[in-house]
């Protein structure tokens, strides 16, 4: 099993992802420079958080044109697992690998704190080791995390159980007060129709060590490794 972490100019959570995969997930992992296009040998890619291309134009908009993204699209089309975190989620939306878009938070704040998210379904390669309905405490850190999509897209997402994480209160209720950025239907993370590409605003790689306040992010990586092992 091998993980890859694509690195764009301005990525800044790439080392966090690498650290967690190598130390806590216990799997081999490589950094992949954004100009590389050879993704053979990888089972899963983690598109890291940060500010690729300085968030110029729109968050994630320019990273989508990096050479590696063409390879990521092919990788995903062949069923490879892709986990986009924060800026990684923004990049996947801009690249058309996930529907919708992420716009400015409804407040003007850069929101940087632990939030609660409810796992909506265990029917994904990324959550199959977590019971549906489980509330995870995972930090967010973003200015553009306000998920938007049209009505038709939302219907599709709900109908196909593609909403994987929803912001919620500690008891699991997806209240408006628990929504840190105004995201439609409290959406914190979605997957594609084929369920092998997941984007999420919270940072599970920052929630894998008790010392840092939570290890609730581990279940996501554990699910992914179990899925790959079973394949």
């Amino acid at each position: 099993m091998k993980f890859g972490v694509p690195v764009f100019p301005g990525s800044n959570c790439d080392h966090d992802a690498y650290h967690v995969i190598s130390k806590h997930v216990g799997q081999p992992v490589d950094f992949i420079w954004h100009k590389d296009t050879d993704l053979s040998g990888y089972d899963a890619l983690v598109i890291p958080g940060g500010f690729s291309y300085g968030d110029y134009l729109r968050a994630g908009a320019l990273a989508r044109f990096s050479p590696v993204m063409g390879a990521v699209k092919e990788f995903a089309a062949k069923g490879g697992f892709v986990l986009g975190i924060c800026n990684g989620f923004q990049i996947l939306c801009e690249a058309g690998l996930l529907p919708g878009a992420l716009i400015r938070n409804r407040g003007l704040d850069f929101v940087c704190r632990h939030v609660n998210v409810r796992v909506e379904t265990d029917d994904t390669p990324f959550t199959n080791q977590i019971e549906s309905g489980t509330v995870l405490s995972i930090p967010v850190a973003h200015a553009e995390g306000n998920y938007v999509c049209d009505d038709q897209t939302l219907d599709q997402l709900e109908k196909n159980s593609q909403v994987i994480f929803r912001y919620c209160d500690p008891d699991g209720a997806p209240t408006d007060a628990a929504n840190p950025n105004g995201a439609r239907s409290n959406i914190a993370g979605i997957c594609n129709a084929e369920r092998n590409v997941l984007g999420m605003m919270p940072h599970p790689e920052r929630a894998c060590e008790e010392l840092l306040g939570s290890n609730d992010g581990r279940g996501i990586f554990r699910s992914l490794t179990r899925t790959i092992e079973a394949a």
């Binding site: 134009l57 939306c93 801009e94 529907p99 878009a101 716009i103 400015r104 407040g107 999509c149």
Partner: protein, 83 residues
């Protein structure tokens, strides 16, 4: 040829930046401003050999592929001869 591309948020898409600017305008005494929506403006220098129609097609393709995100934004294109 020169293309001017204006990218604006679709109506209904929240614009916290525009709201904040509006709020500041009110704070310093502007009255009668009903709302402010922030957008983006691009000046694109195009090959002088292009016809106006060709320039428009090129600029609209650029706007569609890169400058605007069709999920949340609309755009308009103006073509003019470079001064």
């Amino acid at each position: 040829m020169k293309a001017k591309v204006y990218v604006t948020l679709k109506s209904g898409v929240l614009d916290p930046q525009g709201k904040a600017i509006h709020h500041s305008a009110e704070l310093i005494g502007f009255e009668g401003i009903k709302g402010i929506r922030q957008g983006k403006y691009f000046e694109i220098a195009l090959d002088e050999g292009l016809t106006e129609e060709e320039a428009r097609i090129e600029a609209e393709k650029l706007a569609t592929d890169i400058l605007a995100n069709p999920v949340i934004e609309d755009f308009t294109v103006d073509i003019s001869r470079s001064a």
